[in-house]
């Protein structure tokens, strides 16, 4: 039994079968990549995983609890954190404040009326946030306006904000899309480091083969809304079906 179990999920949009009989099991503490050509249903699947879309049939269980129909904040409180295609951070706030918010959320839950306490007196939270920034090599930027940072740094901060909550599952949606090569490699290194240092499951939805083969321990190939094959990176690399359906495009992904 994996930490995330997707069973017989179907989703249609009008005449289009976006997802057909998707079965997927993500093992605890693994790095699992979901790949597939454009229009294969990756985004739809991701939206089902985080409860944004409710499938027509089937179930999605996280740690034996259903995620379907839950609000994003509830899913996050269950232990699933999400990194977006374009970094979603609190642009009006400083880097340190960005980092404090998830730690508050972890400690105080979805809502707490702490209107008369002083943020400056929350030594424990500040300490944790600074430690996390330290480990991201961002301690020097802690008083910077976060909107002014480079895309690579925003991504780094976003991943750090997710990690600060000690999630059990980290979902990444094309985490290196639109990034320069150097930033992509930094992000890969960061994710590797996270995987080495922490007991955390990482699920990546990705287009870029370089990222996928550098990180994934297991890969599911999605084509036309259904899983085509699943296996280790070596198995996937050599699989004829995958070559046929997908890898022709990998050259594009590699140079992009």
């Amino acid at each position: 039994m994996g930490i995330l179990e997707v069973r017989n999920v179907n989703k249609r949009f009008g005449g289009l079968q976006a997802l057909g009989d998707v079965n997927l099991s993500i093992e605890e503490n693994s790095v699992h990549a979901i790949i597939g050509p454009n229009g294969a249903g990756k985004s739809t699947l991701l939206n089902v995983l985080i409860g944004k879309l409710i499938p027509d049939t089937g179930s999605v269980m996280f740690d034996s609890q259903s995620v379907l129909g839950r609000k994003p904040f509830e899913i996050c409180q269950m232990g699933i954190s999400r990194v977006f295609q374009t970094p979603e951070i609190f642009g009006d706030l400083t880097v340190l404040e960005n980092m404090m918010i998830p730690i508050f959320a972890k400690r105080d839950g979805a809502f707490r009326m702490h209107a008369l306490e002083s943020t400056a007196h929350e030594a424990g939270i500040i300490e944790q946030a600074e430690a996390m920034l330290e480990s991201l090599n961002m301690a020097d930027q802690r008083h910077d306006h976060s909107a002014a940072m480079s895309r690579g740094n925003k991504r780094r901060l976003e991943i750090g904000m997710c990690l600060a909550q000690n999630p059990r599952l980290l979902l990444l949606d094309e985490p290196t899309a639109g990034m320069a090569r150097a930033d992509t490699n930094n992000t890969i290194d960061l994710l590797k480091q996270i995987n080495d240092e922490r007991d955390i499951t990482i699920a990546i939805i990705e287009h870029d083969m370089h990222v996928v083969f550098s990180l994934a321990e297991r890969i599911t190939v999605l084509a036309q809304g259904s899983p085509l094959v699943e296996g280790t990176p070596d198995y996937i690399k050599g699989h004829p079906k995958v070559r046929e359906a997908y890898l022709g495009e990998s050259a594009v992904g590699e140079t992009a």
Binding site: F73, F90, I101, H114, A115, A120, H143, H145
Partner: protein, 398 residues
């Protein structure tokens, strides 16, 4: 001190000094001089500074922090006024129960409206709040006449029950016998300084409310509200439920508005529906923006600025203008008067509208941002002051 950082404490002390010494500061000209018309140190006007300051400080907690633009806050002010006048009618002319009830009633009303309106955001939220306020205004004029006394406005009559009134009780608004209107006038040379009980009550409450708003701004709760404004998607996927945060902010700002309404009625025991009209809601938006939404001191400055100029501009008529420009040759004098007169007197609203546009166009951060820009000109060599405790400016509702 008071659990505030150094910078915040400085701001609080400055506001406290300004508020407590207002009768001096606002009366710089001798009573019989030509410039006396620019004095603002009389109790009636100073009370309005403090009361609308409270209104704007509260509005800023909602709009400045969360970016939710309510166009219906005047409804809470109006409800607060009605609640207060009812307390005068039923109990006695003591302002304490009146103020308390106005805050409670406005809070409950805000809870109801906020609960519904906050299901939507952005422009839809603005229109929902506008619709609720307009609805309250229409109801106050029509079916709710038994509660609001319709167009006449609610006021205290001799045959009201006033069950707590003793034979010796004061018949004007008072705080345990201390009458709001009682004023001590200090004569120094040709200067007159008025110290009114009513003003000082308003000023002290305003200071307390200002202090409270600083605490809210600097609390984790305040940080969450800024997070709502900055990025709701990230907020949700960080495991935070934005709805109760925004609702809490909405209710708090509604209670501030109710308090302001209660104080208005405490200074002058009257309440009319026109206080709830949406142009009145627009006025508090303007005060907040003009001063600087999302800054601590902005709303205080904005409300003072607008109430001062409203008062001064409204008093100026063509005769005054002719006097001003009398040093010019006759023809030029008439041209100047002709050019300026649409903006003064009853034309004050024209000036206000223009001001509103200019501020939104050129200075979205309001007077505070303008002040900071000027400061930077003078000390360009110093790096930007970006300590976590420093008053943070932010453009409205990004």
């Amino acid at each position: 001190m008071f659990g505030l950082g150094k910078h915040d404490l400085k701001i609080l002390i400055i506001v406290a000094i300004l508020a407590l010494l207002a009768p001096f500061i606002l009366n710089p000209f001798p009573a019989d001089s030509a410039m006396a018309q620019f004095n603002a140190g009389y109790p009636d006007l100073m009370q309005r500074f403090a009361i609308y300051g409270i209104f704007a400080i509260g509005f800023n907690i909602l709009f400045g922090l969360t970016g939710y633009l309510s166009f219906g806050h005047a409804a809470f002010l109006g409800v607060g006024s009605y609640a207060a006048v009812w307390m005068f009618k039923l109990l006695s002319m003591n302002v304490l129960p009146a103020i308390l009830l106005s805050v409670i009633v406005a809070g409950l009303f805000a809870l109801l409206i906020g609960f519904i309106s906050l299901r939507r955001s952005g422009i839809y939220f603005s229109i929902l709040t506008l619709a609720f306020a307009q609805m309250s205004f229409n109801l106050a004029y029509s079916v709710l006449t038994p509660l609001t006394n319709g167009e006449t406005g609610l006021q205290v009559y001799n045959d009201d029950p006033q069950i707590l009134m003793g034979p010796n009780s004061s018949t004007v608004t008072n705080l345990f016998g201390l009458e709001m209107r009682s004023t001590y006038t200090l004569h120094i040379g040709s200067w007159n300084f008025d110290f009114a009980v009513g003003y000082y009550l308003c000023a002290l409450i305003m200071l307390a409310m200002f202090y409270l708003s600083i605490r809210i701004f600097r609390s984790p709760f305040g940080m969450m509200l800024r997070a709502v404004k900055s990025n709701q998607t990230r907020m949700n996927y960080t495991g935070l439920n934005a709805r109760p945060y925004t609702l809490a902010a909405f209710v708090i700002s509604g209670m501030y508005a109710g308090l302001a309404g209660g104080l208005l009625a405490s200074m002058d025991p009257l309440a009319g529906a026109e206080r709830m009209q949406w142009t009145a809601s627009g006025e508090v938006v303007l005060m907040t923006i003009l001063g600087g939404a999302g800054t601590l001191i902005g709303p205080v400055l904005g409300s003072g600025f607008i109430k001062y100029f409203e008062n001064i501009f409204s008093k100026i008529n063509e005769n005054v203008l002719h006097e001003w420009f009398s040093f010019l040759p006759q023809g030029l004098e008439n041209i100047m008067v002709w050019m300026v007169s649409p903006f003064v007197g009853s034309g004050w609203h024209l000036t206000l509208g223009m001001l509103f546009m200019l501020i939104v166009i050129f200075l979205p951060g309001g007077l505070v941002q303008g002040g900071q820009k000027i400061m930077h000109l003078f000390r360009r060599d110093r790096p930007e002051d970006d300590k976590p405790g420093a008053a943070r400016q932010s453009t409205p509702a990004e």
